[in-house]
Symmetry: C3
């Protein structure tokens, strides 16, 4: 991965063969970035993505082994168990231009992956939620504001 | 909805059961935010979205009642009739990972919805456009610049 | 195209009939913007998009002539041969709400196109890559850091 810090955002280009999620997670860890968000476009040639089944409280993933365009990548980084965790969803198109996607486990760059990553100074964290079965982001303020007691 | 202001952007997590568009619109109204833009990922279990038919000058919407991944959410806020109005398009994936979407009327959070919302200090507004049949954003500068008269 | 600079980002509305990629590229050139990134939503009525075939080292494009929703637009600007070059991927939905898309050559605005464009002060550039067959963004830093020699 090559990168540059420009006006407070990291411009990144991941190279063919790199694992995108692992690389972003390692980058955040190395740089001490605890929160942030990113978008990206490019093409990948290995991909595992899918959906969450709330009734079963588990993900169902499919593996893809063709070169596909990354037409939309939207992700964030929050702490989870004390380290930066990448949560990213993506849309991909194949040789018919049909779109598919979901929650991304990992994907390997096939041509290039161009990412704009905005680091944040905050350190908000994910906390396991038993009802949902996932670690959800907890943030300090509520809207609508919780009525005060007493 | 929980939120935090971090380096000028609002990090937000909407909870299962919340109506996303209404909540974002109420948030902007309460905070006095007249313009802004956002992205988001998550999962929703009720959704109304569709497309605009320019010839008929009307929207055609479909309702969905399954849990689907929100793989891309791109939206903005401009004033309309004096109050903040949310315009948002989304891409969703189902249990086959197939993608669909469109212009979103409303959607109910099914698992979580993680939004990064950037407020802006400006107060640009939508104005009804008779040719198009919609209220379109009007901005003060033109490109290419209009030739000056005289 | 109408636009406004708000808190360092350009809000833009492209009008029915405008060519989106050419307009963004001309805007960047005129304003002397060498790097930047953008997102957008709207609807277009002419579109050429497709995918890159790495084995053949060429793009395969399809033309569309129907009004479709632009549900996600993610793009960047880097220099290429000394001038600003727009690289943009998009997701579109038709009258069945089905999603398709890919690497965009050009698209003509059908209803409106609302873009949030963030200009950057840097001047990073694309450089032809023979292995890939495309001009890829080159950035000055490596991650993981290249081991120093000696």
């Amino acid at each position: 991965m090559q990168y540059a810090l420009s006006d407070g955002v990291y411009l990144m280009t991941l190279e063919r063969g790199e694992l995108a999620v692992a690389t972003l997670q390692q980058f955040a860890t190395t740089k001490g970035i605890k929160n942030g968000y990113f978008t990206g476009i490019g093409a990948v040639d290995q991909l595992t993505c899918g959906y969450y089944d709330l009734a079963q409280k588990q993900y169902y993933f499919t593996e893809y082994h063709d070169l596909v365009e990354v037409v939309s990548l939207t992700g964030n980084i929050f702490l989870k168990d004390g380290t930066p965790f990448v949560h990213v969803h993506g849309v991909f198109t194949n040789t018919t231009n049909a779109a598919f996607g979901g929650h991304i486990v990992e994907m390997r760059v096939g041509v290039t992956l161009e990412v704009v990553f905005t680091p944040l100074a905050s350190a908000h964290t994910r906390v396991p939620n038993e009802c949902i079965g996932l670690a959800l982001v907890e943030l300090p303020q509520s809207f609508p504001a919780e009525p005060s007691v007493g």
